[in-house]
C-alpha cells in the first residue's frame, strides 16, 4: 500500500468568539486508512469535521485534499471533491423517502444538463435509472431491510443510521467522515457497524475518519488514533500506544488517574 497523503490539515484553527474550538491542529490521513479522532466532550472533534467539510471556514491554517486546497470552498464543492460525512445526530431528510434521501446524496454526480432534464431526454432517463439501480446496490451493501419508499422519519433508529451511511456513500466519496457512527447502538449493532466500516475500506476502497467514544470500536478498527483535548492535539499514534499515553489518560480521567497509572 502506498503512503500517499489524502487529507492534510495544517495548523487548522477555528474560533467561536473567545472560544478556540480547534487550535492549530495538524492532522493528516493517508489513502486507504481507517483512523479515529477521540477526545472528551467539547474537545473540538465535530468542529474539525465541520471545518474539513466546508461547513465552517477555518480562522487559520490550510486544508489540502488530494494535493489541492479545499479550505474556503463551499460545502457542496467539498462534497464534489469527494468528501462525504454522517452526523452525530441523524440528519436525514425526514419527509423524504429512503430512496429520495439516497438520490439527494448522488446530487454531485449528475451529468445531465438542465435542458436534458426538462426534455426528459434518453440520456437523462438512463442516468436516472442507473442511479436508482445503484441506490439498490447500496441498500444491499449496507444490509438495509426497510422499504425504500418509506418516509425516512418512519424508520427505526438503526435503519435510519444505515440510510445515513448509504446517503454518505451515494456520492462515491474518496474520504468519508463518520461522526459517532455507533452512538445509541446495542453491542450487536455496534459489531455490525464496525464490520461495515471495515468493508467500506476493504471493498469500496474508501478512506475512513471516525469520531468515536466507544473504545472497543476505536481500538478494534483504527490503524491510527488522534486525541484532541480543548481544541489541541495531545497525542497521535497506533491505538495501543495512545491508550498508554499519560496525557490521554489525564484528559479522559483527570490528573490523579494519570499519576496512578504512571506508578
Amino acid at each position: 500500500m502506498t503512503t500517499e497523503v489524502l487529507l492534510d490539515c495544517r495548523q487548522v484553527t477555528k474560533r467561536f468568539g473567545g472560544l478556540v474550538a480547534v487550535n492549530g491542529v495538524d492532522f493528516s490521513v493517508e489513502r486507504g486508512r481507517i483512523v479515529s479522532i477521540i477526545g472528551p466532550n467539547g474537545a473540538g472533534k465535530t468542529t474539525l469535521f465541520n471545518v474539513i467539510s466546508g461547513f465552517y471556514r477555518p480562522d487559520g491554517g490550510e486544508i489540502w485534499f488530494e494535493g489541492r486546497r479545499i479550505d474556503g470552498l463551499r460545502p457542496d464543492q467539498v462534497a464534489a471533491r469527494g468528501i462525504s460525512r454522517t452526523f452525530q445526530n441523524i440528519r436525514l431528510f425526514q419527509n423524504m423517502t429512503v430512496l429520495e434521501n439516497i438520490l439527494v446524496g448522488m446530487h454531485t454526480r449528475v451529468r445531465a444538463s438542465a435542458i436534458q432534464v426538462l426534455l426528459r431526454s434518453r440520456a437523462f432517463l438512463d442516468e436516472e435509472r442507473a442511479l436508482v439501480e445503484e441506490a439498490f446496490r447500496l441498500f444491499r451493501f449496507i444490509g438495509l431491510r426497510a422499504n425504500p419508499n418509506e418516509l425516512a422519519r418512519n424508520l427505526p433508529y438503526g435503519e435510519q443510521r444505515k440510510v445515513e451511511f448509504a446517503r454518505a456513500l451515494a456520492s462515491k466519496p474518496k474520504l468519508i467522515l463518520l461522526d459517532e457512527p455507533t452512538a445509541g447502538m446495542n453491542p450487536q449493532e455496534m459489531a455490525e457497524t464496525t464490520q461495515l466500516i471495515r468493508r467500506l475500506r476493504d471493498e469500496l476502497g474508501i478512506t475512513v475518519v471516525l469520531i468515536e467514544h466507544q473504545m472497543r470500536v476505536v481500538m478494534g478498527i483504527s490503524e491510527r488514533v488522534t486525541v484532541l483535548d480543548y481544541g489541541e492535539k495531545i497525542a497521535e499514534g497506533p491505538p495501543a500506544e495512545v491508550r498508554r499515553n499519560p496525557k490521554v489518560i489525564e484528559a479522559y480521567l483527570g490528573r490523579g488517574a494519570a499519576l496512578g497509572s504512571a506508578d
Binding site: 461547513f55 460545502p75 457542496d76 431528510f93 430512496l99 438520490l103 439527494v104
Partner: protein, 382 residues
C-alpha cells in the same frame, strides 16, 4: 423492480397531488354549498325579484362556484410563491405581491404594444395571451431572482426580522418605481388590459332544470382560459417539485439546508431557482389577474398578495399542496360570501364584508389547527 418503483414514484409525485387537489376543491365546494343551502332553507323568505332565498341560491350557485374556483386558482398560484420561499428561507417574502404586480404591468404593456384590433377570433387571442403570460413569467421570475440577490442574500445570516423589513422595503420601492415610470410615460399610473369581445362572451356550459327552474352555467372564455392555465401550472409545479432532481434538491434545502449543502447541493443556486419558479408563477398570475379584472395600478398586488399569503398559512406554510388547497378554500369562501352575504342578512352586511367573513373563517380554522390544514411538515421542522 425499478420499473414498478418508477410507477409508484410517478403516482406519488403527480397523480396523488392532483387527486388531492381535485378532492379538496370539490369537497370545499360541496361543503360550503351545502352549508349555504341549509342556511337558505332555515332562513327562507322572500327576497328581491319575487324569489325565495332558496330559489335565489339554487339559481346562482353554479356561477358562484365557478367564480370561487377561478379566484381560488389565482390565489393558489400566488400562494405558491410565498410558501416555496418560506420553505427554503423561512422568510415571508412581502415583495411577492409586487412581483405579481410587475408581471401584470409587463403583460398589459405588451398587449397594448401589440395594439390588436378588438374583433380578434378566439384562437389568435389565446396565442397572444399565452405569449403574454410567458413574458410576464420571465419578467417576474428574473425580478424575483434579482430581489433575492440584492435584498435577501446579503442578509442570509442576519436575524429573521431584518430580511423581513428588507422585503417590505423592496415592496414599497417596486410600487413607487412602477408608479413613477407609468406616471412619466403615460401620465397616469393605472393601465387597462385591452378588452376583446370574443373573450368576454359568456359560453353556456350547461343548462339544467332544477325543481322547475332553469339554471344555466355560463363561463366567459377568459375564465376557462384562466382555469386551464392555472391547472397546467399547478400540475407542472407538482411534477417539478415531487418528481425531478431539482425538486428533490429544493425539498432537501427546505428540510435541512446545512445537510443538503454537505450532500453536495449548491444551496445558493437552489434558492435562486426557487425564487425564479415562485416569481414566474406570480408573474403568470399577474397577467391572468389583469385579464380578469381589466384595470391595474401599482397597488393592485397588495390585496391579492395578503390573501394569497393567508391562503399559504391556511394550507400550512411551507407546504406546496397546502398552498394550493388554502388558495382554493379562501377563493370559494370569498366568492360565496360576496354573493350571498347581502341576501342572507337582509342587506345588513353587503358583499363588501366578504373579506371579513373569509378572514373570520381563517381565524377559526387556525384556532383549531394552528399549523394550517396540511401543516404537519412545518410542525415536524419546527
Amino acid at each position: 423492480m425499478t420499473g414498478q418503483l418508477r410507477l409508484i414514484r410517478l403516482y406519488r409525485a403527480v397523480v396523488y397531488p392532483l387527486i388531492q387537489l381535485t378532492v379538496w376543491s370539490a369537497a370545499s365546494l360541496v361543503i360550503i354549498s351545502a352549508v349555504t343551502l341549509a342556511l337558505a332553507v332555515v332562513f327562507n323568505r322572500q327576497v328581491a325579484g319575487g324569489l325565495t332565498l332558496v330559489d335565489f341560491v339554487v339559481r346562482t350557485l353554479p356561477q358562484v362556484a365557478i367564480d370561487g374556483l377561478t379566484i381560488g386558482f389565482l390565489y393558489a398560484m400566488i400562494a405558491l410563491g410565498y410558501t416555496m420561499v418560506y420553505g427554503v428561507l423561512q422568510l415571508i417574502n412581502f415583495a411577492h405581491s409586487e412581483i405579481f404586480m410587475v408581471g401584470a404591468f409587463v403583460g398589459v404593456e405588451f398587449m397594448l404594444l401589440l395594439n390588436l384590433p378588438p374583433d380578434q377570433p378566439v384562437q389568435g387571442l389565446l396565442l397572444v395571451i399565452l405569449l403574454t403570460t410567458l413574458l410576464g413569467m420571465a419578467a417576474s421570475g428574473l425580478l424575483a431572482v434579482g430581489i433575492e440577490r440584492v435584498a435577501y442574500r446579503p442578509l442570509r445570516h442576519a436575524p429573521r426580522l431584518v430580511p423581513l423589513i428588507s422585503a417590505i422595503g423592496v415592496s414599497f420601492f417596486l410600487q413607487d418605481t412602477v408608479r413613477a415610470i407609468e406616471g412619466l410615460v403615460n401620465n397616469a399610473f393605472f393601465r387597462n388590459y385591452p378588452s376583446f369581445p370574443a373573450l368576454n362572451e359568456p359560453l353556456t356550459l350547461a343548462s339544467v332544470t332544477v325543481a322547475g327552474e332553469p339554471v344555466t352555467v355560463q363561463m366567459q372564455a377568459k375564465i376557462i382560459l384562466i382555469i386551464v392555465v392555472s391547472l397546467v401550472m399547478l400540475s407542472g409545479l407538482n411534477y417539478l417539485v415531487n418528481a425531478t432532481r431539482l425538486g428533490r434538491a429544493i425539498r432537501a434545502v427546505a428540510q435541512d439546508q446545512a445537510t443538503a449543502a454537505l450532500m453536495g447541493v449548491n444551496v445558493d443556486r437552489i434558492i435562486m431557482l426557487t425564487f425564479l419558479i415562485g416569481g414566474a408563477l406570480g408573474g403568470a398570475t399577474g397577467v391572468l389577474f389583469g385579464i380578469r379584472v381589466g384595470r391595474i395600478d401599482p397597488y393592485v398586488g397588495f390585496i391579492p398578495g395578503i390573501k394569497a399569503f393567508t391562503a399559504a398559512v391556511l394550507g400550512g406554510i411551507g407546504n406546496i399542496t397546502g398552498a394550493m388547497l388554502g388558495g382554493l378554500v379562501l377563493g370559494v369562501l370569498e366568492a360565496f360570501a360576496g354573493a350571498y352575504l347581502s341576501q342572507f342578512t337582509g342587506g345588513a352586511f353587503g358583499s363588501e364584508y366578504k373579506d371579513i367573513f373569509a378572514f373570520a373563517i381563517l381565524i377559526i380554522i387556525l384556532i383549531f389547527r394552528p399549523t394550517g390544514l396540511l401543516g404537519e411538515i412545518v410542525a415536524q421542522r419546527a
